[in-house]
Symmetry: C2
DNA sequence: TTCATACTTCGATCGTAACCGAAGCATCGC
DNA sequence: GCGATGCTTCGGTTACGATCGAAGTATGAA
């Protein structure tokens, strides 16, 4: 009864709607100020301030002071992963905040999930990488093959550099809209970064959507074809 | 702001101490009655009843009516995984319900985690399987090798039968006491079952400890030697 | 049938925490 | 220096939900 870690504390932390909204917004990967977070939480700045203090004390958020602003992000990848897995679970149980259906088509097509590509395009990318033999889906995990490493080099991704970070290279992340896996980890991050870098796509200003240009769209679909069998 | 799954609901569900205690108890894998769960939650049966109804409605619990008893278990593996990952996160942040330290040595040595072996012995088993080449730790996942499959057959585990279930064969599960991975999935379950079956170990009556007999201990340590380099 | 056990529902109480207005700091631009 | 902006702290209100006693339903035993 009093053995083990206290899941009630973080449960309660995430369990408040205002805090949950803020955390979900930070899943976008972008650092947000206290005032912005108050907006997404639908509360005043005073209230947001106390919420943010609690979330930070609980190890879910990190803050960076910059001038008179205070930028908040998810504390680390573990925190992001926790929020993601809760989203996956909630989506699987039909705990949706809005009436289901393709309410936000852009968001379902492509959006950012902490720092990598999610949505329809995210799922397609992983599927394509697997069917082309660039990534092995082995057991419950993902692993980059030698072919994958050389293929990625061709589109300007230096896998060696990614490997040196302590963060796992490939990780699968369950998508709440597609209910299927997409690619996370440092490779997922690097791929999205390269799309943005190439000008294929850009982040929407207010939402978590990733907007592909017509040309970027064409290139992406060509680079990651669907297995048609 | 109102896009995506509602993590606040399940957060709140887990966020109540009484409910969290019940969920943690059910991590033991054993089905418990409403009255027993009231005990672990430290509340009366009436209160427990309303809590359990909420947890069931939230998709975290399943119940099976048997005579005048009502047995509760975690709804499925997804629910168990969610609780486990929250425990892992909470442990990593020092959210412990008791003063740290080796308070419950038996529990740290070997305990059940939903349906597989955790604790020091669980970690040791996975480490040994990896270093002997029975399991490949590839990417962030685990995969059984051919050598592993034949080795397991020798100790009476039919991998083919396990494969036919929809549940993943190998899954890594983060341990809150060891802060390292151990083996979950249907293989993890089968291994623990075989230890119990062979009489090497038995479940403690009231806690989640797995108690090894002197002989079982000897066999286990011989079967899963530590890499000493 | 009658009694006992396991559990649920109802009704009322009570504590905690979310909330906001107002005031207090800190930082920036001027 | 001054005012404006971003954020925190304080105090008091309010609402929600956890809690339990009491009564109600279902199952089993005698």
């Amino acid at each position: 009864m009093k053995e083990g870690p206290d899941i009630a504390q973080i449960g309660a932390l995430i369990g408040d709607p205002a805090r949950a909204n803020m955390l979900a917004a930070l899943t976008g990967g972008r650092a947000l100020t206290a005032t912005e977070l108050a907006g997404v939480g639908g509360i005043t700045v005073q209230t947001a301030s106390t919420h943010l203090a609690k979330l930070e004390a609980g190890g879910l958020l990190a803050q960076r002071k910059q001038g008179r602003h205070r930028y908040f992000t998810l504390a680390d990848e573990a925190a992001a992963r926790l929020i993601e897995s809760m989203m996956g679970f909630a989506a699987g149980r039909g705990h949706l905040r809005h009436r289901p259906g393709p309410k936000e088509p852009a968001l379902r097509k492509a959006r950012i999930c902490y720092d990598h590509l999610a949505g329809d395009y995210g799922v397609r990318m992983l599927d394509s990488l697997i069917s082309s033999g660039s990534i092995d889906a082995v057991g419950d995990g993902l692993a980059l093959t030698e072919k994958g490493e050389s293929d990625l080099k061709c589109i300007g991704i230096d896998v060696g550099a990614l490997r040196s970070s302590r963060r796992p290279l490939c990780r699968s992340c369950l998508d709440w809209s597609e209910r299927r896996a997409h690619l996370a980890g440092s490779l997922g991050k690097a791929l999205l970064a390269s799309f943005l870098d190439k000008g294929w796509a850009r982040r929407a200003a207010e939402s978590r959507s990733i907007l592909f240009s017509p040309e970027g769209d064409r290139q992406f679909l060509k680079l990651f074809p669907l297995e048609t069998n």
